[in-house]
């Protein structure tokens, strides 16, 4: 799946934290290096995201503040009044060519915050005050993909059991559903899988599980009674994209139980203009990033026409198998 980490940077204040020790036990061959603050390593100038991604390091840290962030306009808020996300981890073990993390973070190394209890208290406090919260749990990372050495998803599922006003969205490309399968489905939790045509997975979503493997995990989650969201987002205008995405819709129709699906969210590629600039500076070999994008208010996206074409094609293809009310446009 991913190369084991050769080095683990650890903030001095959490050297003795039980979770630090558990993680270190998972990587007995990694060289530990103590650091004062994760930003001393993570935020250094002139790091090369691409080169680091070849040999990513782990950084264990303590999050001191900001346990909840307001959701960005790029993401669908699914009409929730309190749409927030948290960052238990920064960066991802996968390497999708379109991933905005490449433009957002100066480093490709993976930061894991071990003080989950502080995240829980902040969330509780918010809930006490505001009575409801829709929390995206896997935002600047793919949290479930880390489950084997950073079992945060399990911990949040347990936390959510006692917080009826908390809704969670756990978005992933991983097939680690098995790691959380023992929990009984919580109606306030949405397991959201991002999927793409297999050819895109192979050529663009490097290191991620195959479409078939994802569908198997999704199928199992539906069968077990979880609320499942499918995200076909971003839809990419690769050569012959129409055929690839149409056949993806057909595969979904064939392989998934329509009733088990809460919604299918679709959206075209879009990105903060500065992120894209940074991405294209280091990732010069990805044609999807050099599309002739339309620029508007610091956002680059496919042109209005191209976006419409994408959304029309996709919603049309999906409507053959799913009810129109299940199809949501995440960004148009």
């Amino acid at each position: 799946m991913f190369k084991a980490f050769s080095h683990i940077y650890i903030e001095e204040s959490i050297l003795d934290h039980f979770r630090t020790k558990e993680i270190l036990n998972r990587f007995p061959n990694a060289i530990p290096i103590s650091i004062r603050h994760y930003k001393d390593s993570f935020n250094r100038n002139s790091q090369n995201f691409r080169i680091q991604k070849e040999s990513p390091k782990l950084i264990l840290a303590e999050k001191k503040d900001q346990f909840l962030y307001k959701g960005s306009d790029f993401s669908p808020n699914f009409s929730h009044p309190h749409f927030y996300y948290n960052t238990l981890a920064l960066n991802c073990i996968y390497d999708c060519e379109y991933c905005y993390l490449q433009g957002m973070f100066p480093s490709a190394n993976l930061v894991l915050f071990v003080n989950w209890e502080d995240f829980f208290s902040a969330t509780k406090e918010f809930l006490d005050k505001n009575k409801s919260l829709y929390l995206a749990l896997s935002y600047d990372t793919d949290l479930l993909a880390l489950e084997s050495f950073f079992p945060a998803t399990k911990a949040w599922l347990e936390f959510a059991t006692n917080e009826p006003n908390l809704s969670l969205e756990i978005r992933t490309k991983s097939t680690n559903y098995g790691q959380i399968a023992k929990y009984s489905p919580n109606p306030n939790v949405i397991l959201a899988w991002t999927i793409s045509p297999q050819s895109i997975i192979e050529s663009i979503e490097h290191g991620t599980p195959s479409l078939q493997a994802r569908l198997k995990a999704i199928g199992q989650a539906i069968k077990d009674g979880w609320k499942v969201r499918i995200c076909i987002d971003p839809i990419l205008r690769v050569p012959e994209w129409q055929t690839h995405y149409q056949s993806l819709a057909d595969t979904l129709g064939k392989e998934l139980n329509m009733e088990g699906i809460l919604d299918i969210s679709i959206g075209g590629f879009r990105m903060n203009i500065d992120f894209l600039k940074r991405m294209t500076d280091v990732r010069k070999d990805s044609s999807i990033l050099f599309h002739d994008f339309e620029k508007k208010d610091k956002i680059v996206s496919y042109s209005k026409l191209e976006t419409e074409e994408i959304l029309n094609l996709m919603s049309g293809a999906l409507k053959k198998h799913f009810s129109p009310s299940q199809i949501k446009v995440s960004y148009s």
């Binding site: 250094r44 294209t280 050099f290």
Partner: protein, 288 residues
């Protein structure tokens, strides 16, 4: 391309001999030796001298050259650990500057035949565990407790190098020359120890960085486009956009000829609007 910084000549000697490097004449203060694309620089002791040497050398290079340059600092270091043997070689994954309390983290990205790594503390003066030695800083047992290697250049080298060179190109390696007995090492001993380590390291130092690959769009496609557009008055933004479009085309069609507009149409470009249309149409042919 590779550059190697040493504090003193005795550390550098075996490398200079092996490389068959010759001193280059330049107007600077520091001694720079060269053979082909490889350079050896001798800074003199202390972090300030080392930082100045890095800066002086960096200024002899263009930015693209610096981006391709592997930059190392090798040298001797005292060890606070009795289990370290004389001549043991370590890559450094953390450098702490004792006087400024700054820490630096050289990334270990490339594999090496030398597997051992540790951290390094850079002091302003030589360090000893003995009491009151002339010209030495005496450390007490508490200070010695967490000490691995000590030197006088590492932080100066890394801080300066990271201003001029990409972080991932920079590495620091030290070999154990003493256990802080408070004596200065003999030049011959240093030379012998450095010669031993060099045997395994020379090839690693001269090997090009694996991530420095020629970009065929920069080297083949763009020069063609540049010569085509030289008498067109494109703005910087237009040139920038055109380059992106050329890249898009090349990535989508690795084996096709780059489409150019008709050369003869250039004569009819009378206004800015003409140029813009011409330019937009060209870019359209690239985004297929």
């Amino acid at each position: 391309m590779s550059a190697l910084f040493f504090a003193v000549l005795s550390e550098a000697k075996p490398w200079l001999t092996k490389l068959e490097a010759k001193p280059i004449s330049h107007s600077g203060k520091f001694r720079i030796f060269q053979k082909d694309n490889h350079y050896i620089i001798i800074s003199g002791t202390g972090k300030l001298s080392m930082a100045l040497a890095v800066s002086e050398f960096a200024h002899t290079l263009s930015k693209p050259e610096r981006n391709q340059m592997k930059v190392w600092n090798l040298g001797i270091a005292g060890s606070g650990r009795s289990e370290h043997k004389l001549g043991d070689f370590f890559w450094i994954n953390k450098i702490s500057d004792v006087s400024s309390s700054k820490d630096f983290y050289p990334d270990r990205i490339l594999n090496s035949n030398f597997k051992k790594e540790t951290n390094l503390k850079t002091f302003d003066r030589p360090v000893t565990k003995e009491k009151q030695r002339d010209r030495f800083i005496s450390l007490n047992s508490e200070e010695l407790e967490n000490l691995n290697l000590v030197d006088m250049e590492g932080s100066g080298f890394f801080e300066a190098a990271s201003l001029y060179f990409p972080l991932e190109n920079i590495a620091v390696g030290k070999l154990v020359s003493d256990h802080l007995e408070g004596k200065f090492c003999q030049a011959e001993d240093v030379e012998t120890m450095m010669a031993k380590t060099m045997e395994g390291l020379f090839e690693e130092w001269t090997r090009p960085l694996p991530w420095v690959n020629a970009d065929s769009i920069e080297t083949v496609d763009w020069p063609l486009v540049e010569s085509f557009i030289q008498n067109l008055r494109l703005t910087e933004t237009m040139r920038h956009d055109l380059k992106k479009s050329v890249r898009f085309f090349r990535l989508r069609h690795p084996n096709s000829q780059l489409p150019f507009p008709e050369e003869s149409d250039k004569i009819n470009l009378k206004s800015k609007t003409d140029l813009k249309n011409y330019f937009d149409q060209w870019r359209e042919t690239l985004h297929v």
